[in-house]
Amino acid sequence: MFFELFFQYLVAGLTYGTIYAIVGIGFNIIYNTTGIINFAQGEFVMLGGMTAVTLYGFLPLPLAVIGAVLITMVMGGLIEMVFIRWLVKPTVLRMIIITIGISILIREGALLVWGEGVRSLPYFTGNEISALSLGGVRLSPQVLWSIGVCMVIVLFLNLFFKHTMLGREMRACAANRDAAALCGIPTKNMITLSFVLSAGIGALAGCVVSPITYTQYSIGSGLAIKGFTVAILGGLGNSMAAVAAGFILGILESFSIWVLPTAYKDAISIAILLAMLFIRPSGLFGNKEAMRLKDF
């Protein structure tokens, strides 16, 4: 019985861990190309889930998910073009205020469009009660879907950044924007692209976890804090570390229910965030040198 409970918590932790990891990766992509912490990152997850639910009203599930991801990508690009593109050397504080403002704007917009209702997509395979049995542990197939999608995203990003011209241009832009411009790289478009990419990744995550975690207009800001914690925990800018940090946070949260009241679950991540910022701001896997290269 003890082990079954243990694994049940572990699986729940991994499920939440994947979504935290993906939000954390979204933070890192934008941070890497721009030095901006985009606090509207969680809203992309919400937008993806909500849009997919709406599209599912008249489209088959796979098309609804693809459509939601594409629409959110366009939204991400538009947000960058409207609010960020024209800024000349904005300060970090100004950027934080702007992205928090964007996040409030999206949330209130979503409230107008979709109302307060809690929604969810159907399970991708099977339904609520179908479960795979793994040594006595009941596992929803959707959990495998979300872990699988997270792995595919990480793999895709690695290939993209290491082995494609566009990916290399984005890394060049992150490393030195002036030098990248001199190589003929339109740096502003690279920044737009980073918003498009992280919006798409966030939206995909929002679709995949929606059957398990449900989605509502207000889930974004909570996810943004978790994702930011994960990005800091792993070391800002390091996407692989964000995955490990995401699982660590998810599992810690999940097991905290064992010893603490459920209401304290969110306090765990805030406590970790504060502790990391005080004790080791470069993250578990980051090195201090890498931090110093950035704007702050």
Binding site: M165, L166, R168, N176, D178, A179, A180, A181, C183, T187
Partner: protein, 254 residues
């Protein structure tokens, strides 16, 4: 024929007139040097030419087209490449990757094709890699291809930066103090290298403090002082120009 023509260009920073009514031209296939005491406006001039600064007045004409209102990446795409006084390589990337990024100016793969990894982008990727490697061979740094760019020695980093600038097949290269921080032997190597680059058909405009290097390789020398042009002539004539001597050695005859 003049590849680059600068007409009455001026730039002011608040109370400082950094570049004042400067005109000159650079012949295709030549090496032209810009010299002058510290604060003469050399780096400002380079920043104007490469599009990082907008001139207050005047025009910059490259290949018969005005470029002074264009952004740095557009100017780079037109084949006007530059290096920096303080090396700016892409950290967390190998030397080869740095050079490959320089080649991207010439790549045809569009946004969507790049995202989707279409087969012919892989082929183009191979071409870019081979071209980058052959350039590194030319500069004698092919052994360093897989090293992390920022882990290299100062002279090696300069070579990587130069390879990156050359990778876009520029018609003209702006070199900002390529011999800064190099010892005498490395400076001599750099001089030979710049001549070889010119022999490839690339026009070179160079800012440099090392007089021996300037006098040895340049076809023409432009002298700036407090943002103004005081001489623009062959190296030997510039050396004998009393105004230039006065600017470099001070007013009083000691």
């Amino acid at each position: 024929m003049a590849l680059l023509e600068v007409k009455n260009i001026s730039k002011r920073f608040g109370g400082l007139q950094a570049v004042k009514d400067v005109s000159f031209s650079v012949r295709e296939g030549s090496i032209k040097a810009v010299i002058g005491p510290n604060g003469a406006g050399k780096t400002t001039l380079f920043n104007l030419l490469s599009g990082f600064l907008l001139p207050d007045s005047g025009a910059i004409v490259y290949k018969g087209r005005p470029i002074h209102a264009k952004s740095p990446h557009e100017i780079a795409q037109q084949g006007l490449s530059r290096t920096f006084q303080h090396i700016r390589l892409f950290a967390h990337m190998t030397a080869l990757e740095n050079v490959m990024v320089g080649r991207h100016v010439r790549s045809r793969a569009g946004f969507l094709a790049g995202m989707l990894n279409l087969p012919w982008t892989w082929r183009e990727e191979q071409e870019i890699r081979e071209r980058a490697l052959s350039l590194m061979e030319f500069l004698g740094i092919v052994d360093l291809a897989d090293a992390n760019a920022t882990s290299l020695s100062y002279g090696q980093q300069r070579a990587v930066e130069l390879a990156r600038a050359l990778a876009g097949d520029p018609a003209m290269l702006l070199l900002d103090e390529p011999a800064a921080g190099l010892n005498m032997r490395e400076t001599a190597d750099t001089a030979r290298l710049i001549s070889r680059i010119r022999d490839l058909g690339i026009t070179v405009l160079i800012v440099e403090h090392d007089m021996s290097l300037v006098m040895q390789i340049s076809d023409e020398v432009l002298v700036l002082s407090y943002g103004e042009k005081i001489a623009d002539d062959a190296p030997r004539a510039v050396q004998g120009n009393p105004e230039v001597v006065r600017v470099y050695l001070g007013e009083d005859d000691a």
